[in-house]
């Protein structure tokens, strides 16, 4: 198996990325994903400008206003807060959660995967043993338990998601390090006396980027989903944070009377996650040639 990879995974060159980008622009699904993500990112960055109102401002007298009435584009929730503004700010929170969680998993998984792949031997065996054990826990359960132990909060939710997602990054990075380790350019550097750490981080790491990017893109989407789920259970964001999952949780009693407070935040989650999945799938087709058909 590793023989194959060696052949088809060349060291990164400027041309490789340029070619990939070109292919990406020709992949309609991936571009759709990119546009959705860009849209959410813009709104998140400019949330104070994009949101018509303060997402925390309560107007009890205007509670549960239907969409497109009294100047509320998407209506209000049961405390009279503008739903559109809350969804916009929710996008900011969800993107932060996605990126931070993946950052945590990447850092942890990257260090472990690099070490395991580079050193091999008993280091590899121990690390992979631990990773296998972590994978013996169903992902969602592991996340929930970690939050339960740390206590419910948005920060802890991110940490929990980061830790639970870590094994897959460790595996991906280890696999690509294994394939890079014996490449000519690495052997050449090593013969020039380059140290272990420098070899690992400066030479090998950049070449594991392609599969990692694919995994990370899909990971952001999954992290957004997980954090919404945690918040829905009361284990993530706490009121009055306009987090999408929490917004759904606190309005589920209005499913008979005010459809918008339940449906709209969910649609936002769906769309954002879909964006990352579209892009991730497209990137996988382009960057991970093993999976091309």
């Amino acid at each position: 198996m590793s023989d194959n990879i060696k052949e088809i995974a060349p060291p990164a060159e400027p041309g490789f990325w340029k070619e990939s980008w070109y292919q990406l622009t020709r992949n309609r699904a991936a571009m759709a994903g990119l546009i959705i993500i860009a849209f959410f990112a813009l709104i998140a960055i400019f949330a104070p400008l994009a949101a018509p109102e303060d997402p925390l401002e309560q107007t009890i007298s205007a509670r549960l206003t239907a969409p497109f009435t009294d100047g509320y584009i998407l209506g209000t929730d049961d405390l009279g807060r503008d739903l559109l503004s809350r969804i916009i700010y929710g996008g900011r929170i969800s993107l932060i959660i996605g990126v931070v969680s993946v950052g945590i998993s990447l850092t942890l998984g990257g260090v472990l995967g690099l070490a395991a792949g580079y050193f091999g031997g008993w280091v590899d065996r121990i690390i992979m043993r631990v990773i296998d054990i972590m994978l013996a826990f169903p992902y969602i359960l592991l996340t929930i338990v970690i939050v339960a132990i740390l206590g419910p909060s948005l920060t802890n939710a991110m940490v929990a998601i980061g830790i639970s997602q870590m094994p897959r990054y460790a595996r991906v990075i280890r696999a690509s390090v294994l394939s890079e380790r014996e490449q000519d350019y690495v052997l050449a550097e090593r013969s020039l006396g380059t140290g272990n750490l420098e070899l690992m981080f400066r030479t090998i790491l950049p070449n594991t980027l392609a599969p990692t990017i694919v995994q990370a893109t899909l990971g952001v989407g999954e992290a957004i989903l997980s954090s919404a789920g945690l918040s829905f259970l009361g284990l993530g964001a706490q009121p009055p944070t306009p987090e999408w999952g929490l917004m759904i949780a606190s309005s589920k009693q209005f499913i008979t009377s005010a459809w918008w407070v339940v449906t709209l935040p969910g649609l936002a989650i769906l769309l954002a996650v879909l964006g990352f999945n579209l892009l991730g799938d497209g990137l996988r087709d382009i960057l991970d040639p093993r999976l091309r058909d």
Partner: protein
Amino acid sequence: MLKFILKRLGLLIPTLLGVVTLVFFMIALAPGDPARIMLGERANAEQLAQLRSELGLDQPLSKQYLLYLGRVIRGDLGKSIVTQQKITDELTDRLLATIELAITSTIFASILGIVLGVAAARKRNSWVDYSTMTGALVGVSMPVFWLALVLIMIFSVGLDLLPTGGRMNVRLYFIPITNFYLIDGIIMWFREGKADYFVSALKHLILPTIALGTIPLAIIARTTRSSMLEVLKQDYVKTARAAGVPERKVVFRYALRNALLPVITVIGIQFGLLLSGAILTETIFAWPGIGKWIYHSISARDFPAVQGGILFISFFFVMINLIVDLLYSVINPRIRLK
């Protein structure tokens, strides 16, 4: 074959041991004194001391670990702080509800997923393919808890067709026989000559099954499609076609049986995940299964229960993955050679 099974079983032991170890230390090293967390600020030092010795917390950590390991090996997961019942009893009481839902969801996802996957692969790049794959992508992006609420909104509130939660109309209270309500429903049908129990059980299963089955459905459809495409490219398929074997026969007789190999693995893994991942679905549909129980234990900070619960599910999960592996090697002998 036997050698492979033995080797695979041999790997199981360190994994399970690791799982127990990780669960133990995760809870033991969690911030805060468990006794204190459980009792709240019961300033009563006596009660604290009593609980700590009951839980073995006054022993050194290494000894606690060995004691715990010993108990787990004997199948004793301890007692729940909240209910004072044996955790194994609490779990087995709820296990069947969870399994019933996991099975119906897996069946739903497998049948529909394989049908859609095959259809998409046969008509590659047609509208069937595109819409199936788009649907599958939307499916994996779906927040399950939201889908569950939307389903309730449409089918319970709007159309008034299906119940909102629970396993059976409580009015039809009966003594559970197998505790799979669908099967019990059939037995009651024979026994009492009325289908009410069965119909009620079925109606209560529909929405949770769809909600829980959506993500596996999407994954199975995608796997079936790509596996099918892979197989259709193989030489023997081309040969069969060239030899004039009818297309239907090529697809269903030759290609499908080979294409299903990876799909079965995926189905097995999904089944394992469904057993654990039903926390949200069970909570929303008031389904009295393990997921809901774990959620309650967590909010009650019932740590022995949480500990026992995750251990139990992880064991289950590992075992299912093992069985899937073994089955796969039975079907596909090549894997053993590796």
